[in-house]
């Protein structure tokens, strides 16, 4: 392990360029540690986003050596064996400044995909009893731990080609609700994820699943939506 990391960091609003920094190596150093060092010691004008530092909040995702990653849980040892790092903002989202992207479109698509739970009961109602080992609940559980970091969205080629495409995270969220027995907006949601920009636009490249830091498979969720939407279409519900 060399004692210095050579880091190229994306700077600026458009058009922008990479700026070079030398950062001292440290044991168990994460990419977020590197970015934080640059801002605190080398250049306080560097803009980046983080909050929890422990892989829960989903705000620190960046493109590291060409791959979208959550930077707080990505160790330098894992991705920069040669001591070279290139850190850029997430792809497929408009850059604001330096490493910060505008996440509005990403979260607007969750809304467009009806990613909000709609119940049919009141607080006076009894608890819903959902069998934890039922197929539907297992499907929902498989996708429920999404932290909304945008890594899958950044990794997705279909998003790059079709800017209307809802993307893996929003569709994964929709699937967890479609499989939630308590939810009362199934048909509206299936309508929302059908069509030109919806689940059937997915080409099953599996980049989202490959890159998801929470090991969720949005690909499997989207496949479930494809079947559910088709069934609804054939039954005249769309």
């Amino acid at each position: 392990m060399s004692s210095t990391l050579h880091v190229r960091v994306w700077r600026g609003p458009q058009p922008g360029a990479f700026q070079r920094f030398d950062v001292p190596r440290a044991p168990s150093q994460t990419i977020l540690d590197v970015v934080t060092y640059i801002q605190r010691v080398l250049d306080p004008t560097l803009a980046y986003r983080f909050a929890c530092r422990v892989g829960m909040c989903g705000s620190c995702a960046m493109t590291v050596n060409g791959v979208p990653r959550w930077t707080c849980r990505t160790h330098v040892d894992k991705v920069a064996q040669a001591g070279e790092l290139e850190i850029a903002p997430l792809r497929n989202l408009p850059p604001i400044r330096d490493l910060v992207v505008d996440m509005r479109e990403f979260f607007d698509k969750w809304t467009r995909a009806e990613g909000r739970f709609k119940g049919a009961t009141t607080k006076q109602s009894d608890f819903a009893r959902v069998a934890p080992d039922s197929e539907k609940r297992r499907d929902a559980d498989a996708g429920i731990e999404c932290i909304g970091c945008g890594v899958c969205y950044s990794a997705c080629d279909v998003v790059a080609w079709n800017s209307d495409y809802l993307g893996p995270a929003a569709l994964n969220r929709a699937w967890t609700l479609v499989q939630d027995e308590r939810d009362a907006a199934r048909v509206e949601r299936l309508q929302a994820v059908a069509g030109d920009a919806g689940c059937h636009a997915c080409h099953t490249h599996v980049s989202c699943t490959e890159r998801c830091p929470k090991n969720i498979s949005p690909t499997a969720s989207i496949a479930g939506l494809k079947r559910a939407v088709l069934k609804a279409a054939l039954e005249g519900e769309l």
């Binding site: 279909v158 080609w161 059908a194 069509g195 080409h203 939407v229 609804a232 279409a233």
Partner: protein, 112 residues
């Protein structure tokens, strides 16, 4: 295109892909068999003329191609050329008909 239409196109492409997987395999094996065996054009025609099984096989093949190819091209035009809407779908409908016509004509030519 309606939401229902998009879903139907998706399953049509999947179903035609399943048919094509088998048809392409049979087609390739047939080509290799004919070429390795050194069959002449006349000998091939002698086997296909009046053979309803080959006519049925290649008719199914052609129908599957005519369904599958335009739907795939539709996504390519959407994603790589940014072309969507009715004009694209009308053109691809004509393209599907064109594939069907020339394919069935060829299948019929070696049968009749």
């Amino acid at each position: 295109m309606t939401r229902r239409g998009e879903a139907v196109l998706w399953i049509a492409q999947r179903a035609s892909a399943a048919v094509l997987a088998l048809c392409v395999l049979v087609h390739l094996v047939t080509i290799v068999y004919a070429m390795r065996g050194g069959l002449s054009g006349a000998e091939i025609l002698a086997r296909t003329r009046g053979n309803a099984a080959w006519l049925a096989f290649y008719s199914v093949f052609v129908v599957a191609v005519s369904v599958h190819a335009p739907i795939g091209l539709r996504a390519v035009l959407r994603e790589w050329a940014g072309w969507r809407g009715r004009s694209r779908d009308v053109l691809l409908g004509l393209f599907a008909f064109f594939l069907l016509a020339i394919g069935l004509r060829a299948a019929w030519a070696v049968f009749g």
